[in-house]
């Protein structure tokens, strides 16, 4: 059987790649997908710990996280569509209205 530490390192790798995606990309949809990647990385470590301690609480928590993530995607995409509907470029750097 695969040691749990392997899953944790894989989870860390995916989370860091997602973070770099949020920092480096300027397309709001691609930043959003990078955030989804970070959700998934954390879910993986939850499931790995649930297996390690033989406790269903980790599975229940991942289930709740997936539900909240689905709600977040629906609202986030609605906001993105609303903000960028009338814009020529889809680029978060154009959202500088509140810049001092």
């Amino acid at each position: 059987m695969v040691p749990i530490a392997y899953y944790l390192v894989l989870s860390a790798v995916l989370f860091v790649i997602g973070t770099v995606g949020v920092l480096a990309r300027r397309n709001p949809l691609q930043m959003f997908m990078s955030i989804e990647l970070m959700w998934n990385a954390v879910n993986l470590s939850f499931v790995a710990f649930a297996r390690q301690y033989v406790d269903m609480a980790g599975h229940i928590f991942v289930f709740l996280v997936i539900t909240v993530a689905a709600a977040e995607v629906a609202i986030g995409l609605a906001i993105i569509v609303m903000v960028f509907r009338r814009r020529e470029h889809v680029d978060v750097d154009d959202l500088s209205l509140m810049k001092g």
Binding site: N43, I66, E88, H89, V90
Partner: protein, 170 residues
Amino acid sequence: MLSTVVFWIAAALAVAGAIGVVVTENPVHTALSLVLTMLALGVLFLLLHAEFLAVVEVLVYAGAVMVLFLFVVTLLMAGVKPPKEEHRLRLAYQTLIAGLFGLILFVLVLHGMASAGWMSTLAGPSAGTFGTIASFGTALFTQYLLPFELTAVVLLIAVIGVVVLAREQS
């Protein structure tokens, strides 16, 4: 030994998809890379005896959520020019700095895991009936019934919020 082979294949696919999310230019390719990562994570969930979550990962995430993403991509990106390369607001060396911060974060996370003693953790105790769909359902509808009911409220709020946001402003 078979589980080790499956783990490495799924892990390689997951990382490949994740890198695809960060490097692809076309948003459709980004979404498909993310689907690859989620399918690989579904396999890993099965390896970890999370049967129901593996199904949910593929159905809800790789299915429903990514279809929603693709809908918005086609809605928003039709006839839109890609972001300007030399943007006046763009931070200089943004990709380089993001990679540097990512590396620092990775080292910090690994250091945290090592100091918590997780890196030397071996395989967990034998699973038995742990992680079957029956045991998941029993836990969800007995001990964790209240959180499960509350997710219904979260989803209701999300639905109302989306309807309010998407309504045509008059």
